[in-house]
Symmetry: C2
């Protein structure tokens, strides 16, 4: 964008927003160019706007529409697919000043929040009323609800409590033309009109800017009981996963492959079995004796599937120790080199095939790949570790990343389970959705954002 | 539509479909005019088509597009809002010949079914693999999955397991132009592209015709424990509902008001307390001792809220007896006269206000209204009972129906919790969604069905 156009943009924005909401400082713009997806392309924004209200978001979008300038919405910047990466010369719209919990209704079991609130703050506000906001992406302490909504973020609890979209009762969003729409409401159920709440959730800022969300709260679950099991083969671990899912209701069911276990053990000697093909971690929050019984049932399933080691605990502190192995997975892999974190999903029954394919890719591409993730959802995070200073290794890592996505698709899976398409997965979307699916996506995009100003180049 | 146009329509359809798929018999057409919503308008269709495959559905829609003839999709005809009511001279497309369970994948925990399969048949097919298809609308024994999907049907299990949409992993649908699209897939989670599965679910055949669904299966829950409690006031029952929801995880939480209890007691003397303002029925399927503990916790909540009578049972047969009171609610009210069944939802905390408003409406309109429903979701079915032969009573009943919908809206609620908008609630939709919401609905409708051929006059 030319300097004169950028200056016109600044002028128009400053005319409708308070001074603190329009930022043109080059260093600040640089720091708002991208999220955490290192390899996704990012432009240099022409301006950063920091609206403090829905009406200020409307004002920004009216200016953007008048001047035909693209707008990229942004939360805490913790995204992993480049969904918040800036467009050259465009507007970056940070929602981090809209960071209030507007209401927590204990009897209604919902919270009304602005998009810049951190997930952790929603959890705290719910806990103050004795309630629970379930969704728990790994980034929950530093990611915004707006970003969680934009990507339909997942987490560890999804296996029992669903993804972010499952916890949303209603939304307020500003469309590209500056108009405000509301979807859903404060009721637990509604069949009135189209499922537009779920259309905006996961749309990564390409259909509208979410300015308020009504989130469903739940009772706090009882303390969890925990299980750790080691398996000699990927197939035996896969059988344990599907048999656990078919017979019990785990509140968590995570897997780590051998490469991940070895990285964790190298990072913090925990006495994990580094010869196992995979470890499973499972929890029950059924509560009381039933929690212990459910964990025992899961242990029996693991043993029947051929686990070489099974340990369980009803003690919360002990359970947290077992959980440490899983929590250290990504930090431990990161210590071994530069990382490229993938996010794919397959039908539950295909997990062993996915893991075997990833092992083959690691061998042929001569890279280390540690795979861990949400086994109970079939959602895995193969993490490619490589030497950043070795240009060849970087190329091989990128090739491995692509091959993992292709392997998931070949198994009837998805190119992203919870991180979103963003810029990083955009080249793969048509392979998953087909030409008809892409056409349908583009029809809806055109209906809501006819000028194509909202986060262009992402998703569709 | 003129006779010559209708004959041209028959000719074109017979050219692309096998003879048994094109029905022009007047008696059969008459029997396919409407669903169970007595008061919703219905036209006389020009033809009934009964495709046996997706490609036959495509053929129908291509003919419809070429000749500009409206198409109303239809399942078992058990709908309660006129969503399947025919358009004069149009095509009624019955999906009841597409009635196969194509696949049940135990390890993948999903079933692939055609839309004409009954809900009961999906449950049976899942049970054969030791699994469970959760959604349980009251019509589950005679409603089709296609209809359940079209209305995003609810039921008794929703309070713990969600609505129909929560059990859908993916869809195949035919658009108005005859093209086929697929949404979602066989994975438990995906963030790849827009939430189009939830856009088609609940769209009542106005955006596309669902020709296949991939449904999520769950482990079969343990036997339930059951609780019945009687309350002296609506407010005390409402407090019990919100306190149960905030502290426990009931697998069912149903309410019956005094008028309903009296009707049930008149129909089958069960010894229910006809002086109570409301009865609550709750269940826990936590299993084992935890189920009993959870039910005891709910009983304690009821007592603290002021229940005058509480009984609980861990015995399945005894629990079924307690459930009989709820199951008889609608049949018992139907015995007292003609009925008009409403379906509204309010935020959980507003249930007592809704029930009080309904009592006022019953008084001012001089009709009997029995209210029962899914208290844990805030979704109520006020049922207006009147003398069909009394024209004045019919007018008053209809006025009461409208006033109940308005009362729900005034409490921040929804005009339909689970039956769908159809024709019956269409006049109220704008009051709930606002002008902006309606505009957005129409934009999406225009993007997917630019000629407006799919179920015109319904929803939007």
């Amino acid at each position: 964008m030319s300097t004169s156009r950028t200056e016109a943009l600044w002028r128009e924005l400053k005319a409708v927003l308070p001074p603190e909401a329009v930022v043109t400082d080059a260093d600040v713009l640089e720091s708002h160019r991208r999220d955490q997806a290192e390899w996704a392309p990012a432009g240099m924004p022409g301006v950063l706007v920091r609206p403090a209200s829905t009406s200020e978001v409307q004002a920004v979008l009216r200016v953007a529409t008048a001047l035909r300038v693209p707008v990229v919405a942004r939360g805490a910047g913790s995204g992993l697919s480049g969904g918040a990466n800036a467009v050259e010369g465009g507007i970056v719209l940070s929602l981090m000043r809209m960071n209030r919990v507007l209401e927590v209704d204990r009897r209604g079991m919902f919270a009304v929040v602005q998009p810049g609130v951190l997930n952790a703050a929603v959890k705290s506000a719910a806990a103050e009323q004795g309630l629970w906001y379930a969704p728990d992406p790994a980034s929950w302490e530093f990611s915004s609800i707006g970003g969680n909504l934009a990507t339909n973020a997942g987490g560890l609890c999804c296996v029992k409590y669903g993804v972010t979209g499952d916890a949303v009762l209603g939304l307020e969003a500003v469309l590209a033309d500056g108009s405000v729409v509301r979807t859903g409401g404060r009721t637990m159920k509604t069949s009135a009109g189209y499922g537009l709440t779920r259309l905006f959730v996961g749309s990564e800022g390409t259909l509208g800017i979410i300015t308020e969300a009504t989130l469903k709260l739940r009772p706090r679950p009882p303390p969890a009981t925990t299980l750790l099991a080691a398996f000699p083969t990927l197939v035996s671990a896969g059988i344990a996963v599907t048999d656990i899912m078919a017979t019990t209701r785990p509140s968590l069911l995570e897997l780590m492959d051998r490469a991940t276990v070895r990285a964790v053990e190298a990072h913090a000697a925990m006495g994990l079995d580094v010869e196992s093909a995979a470890l499973l971690l499972a929890r029950s929050d059924a509560g009381g004796k039933q929690g212990a019984e459910e964990t025992a049932a899961m242990a029996a399933v693991c043993e029947a599937a051929g686990a070489t080691f099974v340990t369980q605990s009803t003690d919360e502190a002990e359970g947290e120790l077992l959980m440490q192995a899983r929590r250290l997975a990504y930090p431990a892999l990161e210590k071994q080199g530069a990382t490229l974190l993938d996010d794919v999903g397959v039908p539950l029954s295909r997990i062993p095939e996915l893991l075997a394919a990833i092992e083959r890719i690691a061998t042929t591409r001569a890279v280390l790949i540690g795979t861990f993730g949400h086994a109970g959802d079939g959602n895995m995070h193969p993490t490619i570790v490589f030497d950043r200073d070795d240009a060849h290794a970087s190329v091989r890592a990128r090739a491995a990343f692509d091959e993992i996505v292709e392997a998931a698709l070949a198994l009837g899976g998805t190119i992203t389970g919870e991180h979103g398409v963003g810029a990083l997965k955009q080249p793969f979307l048509e392979a998953q959705l087909g030409a008809g699916g892409m056409h349908l996506h583009r029809s809806i995009k055109a209906a809501l954002d006819p000028l194509g100003l909202l986060n262009p180049g992402k998703v569709v």
